[in-house]
């Protein structure tokens, strides 16, 4: 058997050619690595050939044999790297050829929807929070005292006609609250001024016609302290109108009557449908009646034990659902309580 370095050189070059041919036929990284192990690995054909050659070679040639083998292994490794890079590049190109139909629907976890009354309630609470008003609540089944009597509406007062009342069976002194105003009374009974509250919640009136719902939501505001004025009421409502509807929006107070405020006012806001230019909804006036307001009547202070000479205050209230109707241009209040998801799902 030939054992000269030249023989070895020929043999190693033969192996190198075989290796190169095989890796060209390998199409996965795994195949490539296998071929590499067969030739260039520590147990591969090149090292085997090197060992064979070393066994017979004289000492003087051993160094040359080592250098020759290492050079061939290095060559094999380079070929492997090149081939691997090519394979990766081919794979990358193939991957980039993928396309999808982007017009197909997305895969979603659908978000739910909040009720429009919740949306406007939160907005209103936030706006009044800027002026130091915190949220207060009270029961919906109320005593005649909290709902009427303490609000200067004794039993025979004609103002009771303004609010058709649901009574509780077997409990002549209990009603479903007809407004959120009893929360004023409960709050004032619970401690001395200063008071700044906003009280949202459901109220009930025995109205059942196309424009009324027997249950609806109101929000009530109350501010009591030394030196509170009617001008303050106006300023607070103006702030609200501008934050809620927009900077160009206005508030108009119109004299009216509520037993628990004096002076009393109806609150008109610039019509949201025509921005004040006059339309069918506002009967051409440019204003929409929103709710009531006024300075807390001294008789109410007497019921809660506040000194009317020392303290003054204002209160206001309006329909929350009505606010949502103005905001979202909803024309039927019954939709709020129908539970129809086709309605609910529009409030993104």
């Amino acid at each position: 058997m030939a054992s000269s370095p030249d023989d070895l050189k020929a043999r190693l070059h033969g192996l190198l050619s075989e290796f190169q041919a095989k890796i060209e036929r390998a199409h996965t990284e795994q195949e490539l690595r296998k071929v590499f192990a067969d030739y260039g690995g520590s147990q591969g054909a090149i090292r085997v050939a090197q060992k064979d050659a070393l066994k017979e070679a004289p000492n003087a040639e051993k160094k040359a044999i080592g250098q020759l083998s290492n050079a061939v292994v290095a060559e094999v490794e380079r070929a492997l790297e090149g081939r691997l890079a090519a394979l990766h590049e081919a794979e990358r190109r193939r991957d980039l050829e993928r396309t999808v139909d982007v017009s197909l629907p997305g895969r979603v976890r659908r978000l739910g929807h909040l009720h429009p009354t919740t949306l406007v309630r939160r907005e209103i609470e936030q706006i009044f929070a800027q002026l130091g008003f915190t949220v207060a609540e009270g029961p919906q089944i109320e005593t005649d005292f909290h709902n009427f009597e303490a609000l200067a509406m004794p039993k025979d007062h004609p103002a009771r006609d303004m609010q058709d009342t649901f009574y509780i069976e077997g409990e002549p002194e209990l009603v479903l609250r007809t407004h959120t105003s009893p929360v004023q009374i409960r709050t004032m009974l619970s401690g001395p001024p200063p008071i700044r509250i906003i009280a949202p919640g459901p109220v009930y009136r025995k109205d059942d016609d196309p424009t009324h719902s027997p249950m609806f939501n109101q929000v009530e505001g109350l501010c009591v302290d030394e030196g509170i004025t009617f001008a303050d009421l106006k300023g607070v409502l103006l702030h609200f109108a501008k934050r809620f509807f927009g900077e160009e929006w206005g508030v108009r107070l119109r004299p009216s009557f509520f037993p628990f405020t004096e002076p009393s006012a109806e609150i008109d806001f610039t019509c949201a449908f025509c921005a004040g230019s006059g339309c069918r909804t506002c009967k051409g006036s440019g204003w929409i009646e929103i709710g009531g307001a006024g300075m807390v009547d001294p008789e109410v202070f007497a019921h809660v034990g506040y000194d009317p000479e020392r303290y003054t205050g204002f209160a206001f209230g309006w329909g929350l659902d009505r606010m949502a109707m103005l905001r979202y241009h909803i024309d039927d209040i019954k939709l709020f309580f129908d539970g129809d998801v086709r309605f609910a799902r529009q409030f993104k």
Binding site: V135, E137, M162, Y167, I168, P298, D340
Partner: protein, 799 residues
């Protein structure tokens, strides 16, 4: 209250149009809801019928000769009621203008030219009747050639005024005119009450036995009446103001009612037993037939107007039919009184009667104006029916209602309104309103006339000043925040809003349903009678039976909504509501009448989300996942145990509790309840009591893991009835602190894969130390200890 602009201008000089008056009054607190034109025509004249004959070409048409004072003209008329010659009709000749904007021209009708037309009520904008042309009698006071509009007080505008309950003085034209005078500075023309001289000789006796119920009672006795219709001008005015014309006697009382706000009643004197009126408390059970044809039973709370024998009127509410004025009436007793507002209100409410009279007496008429109103009415009766004053006026007023004296501090007005307004200006406004004012520097002394029962305190005067001066002139300021407000928001409302956000993120739509529900739906939940939820609080006066029980379960309303949405073809539903349930206190004293608990309920039906088409059908674990995630958003970790809620599937439900405290329930809706509510699809529901949740432990950051974790799995068979919760509890008792996470990966029970009566489970355990990388040996030893402990606690068969 309907107000005629023409009538107003008789009482106060004003150049303002109806629209301008509406604005003025509205901004002063008398809200005008509408302004409606009446009789807006011109050029129509009164004409006498001189002859009539059929139209030769049409048997439904008549040729009428009318005389307008100068010449006779032939007009074609289509009405069925063309009167006999001599009657007066209203003729719109060519050139006349009608309310609909039409200008009349000669027009050929079936071959004959008609110069204009004869008018029906509706064509003149006077009413809705189109039954025939208007036919006038001599008493209507129109002669041939008269301008009809002028004679009838037309055109006019009717203002629909919303008079608030505190302003009884504005329930008549005079009061509204007084407002206009105060607001514009114009002079008020008080209508004169001409003196009447005693002419007849009839007399009557009046005894006032209930002065508390009737502080003042005046009566005039009139004779020589001829009852008949009022003239057209009066009838039209009443009609335009929403009052039916009845007879000249009754119409006279209504004219005074509309002018002065004082209700009056005319009794047929000859039908009063003993020609006597007694004002007394009714006897309990006493009966009276009222003018509306009903028999009414009275109580001793009612003020009854009686003759010697029986009640003849329910005071302040309605007259009786026995003494009603009729065509044959010759003599009347005219009543004008001031009845106690509270007594009238109670009686009217009890009888379910709301009349023009009760409306005014309840609010308070002017006690000082009672006799003047009677005189004004007698004057009208004299003019309309020829009445004469037959007896001396009777006026029983045992205890005079004194005008209120008030002192107003001008500085108080400024302080309350936040408006700089000098004392002089304040006094000027009060004086313009007809109050007697005596200014003394900063203090203004005021005498309030009795027609203004709403002005009893200083603050009432401040309101008058504010509204007449104009709310628009008050500046807008923001009150300083003296100190942080002392009220903190209720925790349940904060929790509710966080829960809403979480549920929205989990794909739920928020609904709001009525708090009153059908009692049958609550009964269908199947709670035993001992449970308060089975005994809802009911309404005394519900609108309908299905809205008569206050809900004791929030799920009930949502399930109804689920049913109706399913019926509309919506298949994928995840709904929730936050609201109160109402429970009886059963005698336990508390701050609020009922126990109102804020709850949250959700229902779901359909499938998990898939792509392009729905995924797998929902099961209980979808609902449980929602509840776990929701509670975690609120800072709570809950436990779930089997429960026995009657409206949920007995095998597919759980009680939700936090640290041993029950906070809610979840489960599959019981098939029987679904059947009752018409829900075909399987549905899942949960209820959480937000008030019961309690405070969540404060959120504190846990240190982030710094060393790697090692996971070990455990696969075993175990008796099928041992719950995952029980196994988990055994694990928790046995595990080393190094075991930081435990998860169930599989629960399978298919026969063939598991031995009989067993289930297969795969659990995974994660080991990690906070301060070092664990060695294999450490993990192995901890895991083997756990395994040994489990084996001794549970009968597991390792795989």
């Amino acid at each position: 209250m309907k107000i005629s602009r023409r009538w107003l201008t008789e009482l106060v000089e004003t150049p303002l149009s109806g629209g301008e008056l509406a604005k003025l009054l509205t901004m002063a607190g008398l809200e005008v809801e509408a302004v409606t034109p009446v009789g807006n025509f011109s050029g129509v004249v009164a004409a006498e019928v001189r002859g009539r004959r059929p139209h030769p070409q049409a048997n439904k048409l008549t040729l009428v000769d009318v005389f307008d004072g100068q010449k006779v003209t032939q007009v074609v008329c289509g009405a069925p009621n063309v009167p006999e010659p001599g009657a007066i009709v209203l003729w719109a000749p060519p050139g006349a203008k009608l309310p609909d904007g039409r200008a009349l021209e000669p027009k050929e009708i079936r071959g004959i030219v008609s110069p204009g037309m004869l008018c029906a009520e509706d064509e003149l904008g006077l009413g809705t009747s189109h039954e025939g042309i208007l036919v006038l009698s001599e008493k209507d006071g129109l002669a041939p050639g008269d301008n009809a509009a002028e004679k009838l007080g037309l055109p006019d505008e009717i203002l629909e005024v919303n008079v608030t309950p505190n302003r009884p003085d504005c329930l008549g034209h005079l009061g509204v005119a007084r407002e206009i005078a105060a607001l514009t500075g114009a002079e008020l023309r008080l209508p004169p009450v001409p003196p009447m001289h005693l002419e007849g000789s009839a007399s009557a006796t009046v005894r006032l036995e209930d002065p508390e119920g009737c502080p003042r009672y005046s009566a005039l006795v009139l004779d020589n009446l001829t009852v008949g219709p009022s003239p057209l001008a009066v009838r039209l005015r009443l009609q335009a103001l929403g009052v039916r014309a009845i007879s000249n006697v009754v119409d006279a009382t209504n004219l005074v009612l509309l002018e002065r706000g004082q209700p009056l009643h005319a009794f047929d004197l000859d039908k009063l037993a003993g020609h006597t009126i007694v004002i007394r408390r009714a006897r309990a059970g006493e009966k009276i037939a009222t003018l509306d044809g009903q028999e009414r039973t009275l109580t001793d709370e009612d003020v009854a107007i009686c003759d010697e024998a029986h009640p003849v009127a329910v005071a302040g509410v309605m007259g009786g039919s026995s003494s009603e004025v009729s065509a044959s009436t010759r003599r009347v007793l005219l009543e004008s009184a001031y009845f106690s507002p509270a007594r009238v209100r109670r009686t009217a409410r009890r009888l379910g009667l709301h009349t023009e009279a009760s409306h005014r007496f309840e609010r308070g008429v002017d006690p000082e104006g009672v006799l003047d109103a009677a005189r004004a009415c007698a004057d009208w009766m004299q003019r309309l029916s020829g009445a004469r004053l037959a007896g001396a006026p009777i006026d029983l007023y045992p205890k005079r209602i004194e005008p209120v004296r008030l002192a107003l501090r001008a500085s108080r007005t400024r302080a309350l309104l936040g408006l700089e307004l000098p004392a002089a200006r304040q006094a000027e406004i009060l004086s313009a309103l007809g109050l007697e004012v005596d200014p003394a520097g900063e203090t203004i002394h005021v005498l309030v006339p009795t027609r203004r029962p709403d002005l009893t305190r200083e603050v009432d005067l401040i309101e008058e000043i504010a509204r007449v001066h104009g709310f628009d002139s008050v500046p807008a300021t923001v009150p300083p925040l003296r100190r942080a407000p002392g009220v903190s928001p209720p925790p349940a409302s904060l929790k509710a809003d966080r829960a809403r956000d979480a549920l929205r993120g989990l794909g739920f739509d928020e609904l709001s349903t009525y708090a009153f529900v059908p009692p049958a739906h609550l009964a269908a939940l199947g709670y035993p009678e001992s449970d308060r939820r089975a005994r809802p609080i009911r309404l005394q006066n519900p609108i309908r039976e299905e809205q008569s029980a206050m809900r004791t379960s929030l799920a009930v309303g949502l399930l109804s909504a689920l049913a109706s949405n399913l019926l509309r073809g919506e298949g994928e539903l995840r709904l929730f509501e936050v609201g109160e349930i109402f429970l009886r206190r059963d005698g336990a004293p508390a701050d609020t009448p009922a126990e109102e608990r804020r709850q949250l309920a959700g229902v779901m039906s359909g499938h998990r989300e898939g792509w392009l088409k729905p995924g797998e059908p929902l099961d209980l674990f979808d609902a449980k996942g929602v509840v776990v995630e929701l509670l975690s958003a609120l800072g709570h970790v809950a436990d779930f145990e089997p429960s026995r809620e009657p409206w949920l599937h007995p095998g597919v439900q759980a009680r939700v509790s936090i640290l041993g405290r029950e906070v809610g329930r979840l489960g599959e809706v019981h098939p029987d309840l679904r059947a009752k509510l018409g829900i075909e699809a399987r549905a899942f529901a949960f209820e959480l009591d937000l008030d019961a949740l309690g405070a969540a432990p404060p959120l504190r950051l846990a240190e982030l893991p710094r060393f790697p974790a090692v996971t070990r799995d455990l696969s075993f068979f175990i008796a099928a009835e041992v719950s995952a919760g029980a196994i988990r509890a055994a694990i928790d008792r046995a595990r080393d602190p190094l075991c930081v996470e435990v998860k169930v990966l599989e629960d399978y029970r298919e026969p063939g894969r598991v031995p009989a009566g067993k289930k297969g489970m795969l659990w995974s355990f994660t080991y990690r130390a906070p301060d070092r990388t664990l060695t294999d040996a450490e993990v192995q030893s901890a895991h083997e200890r756990l395994l040994a402990a489990l084996k001794s606690a549970l009968e597991l068969e390792l795989r």
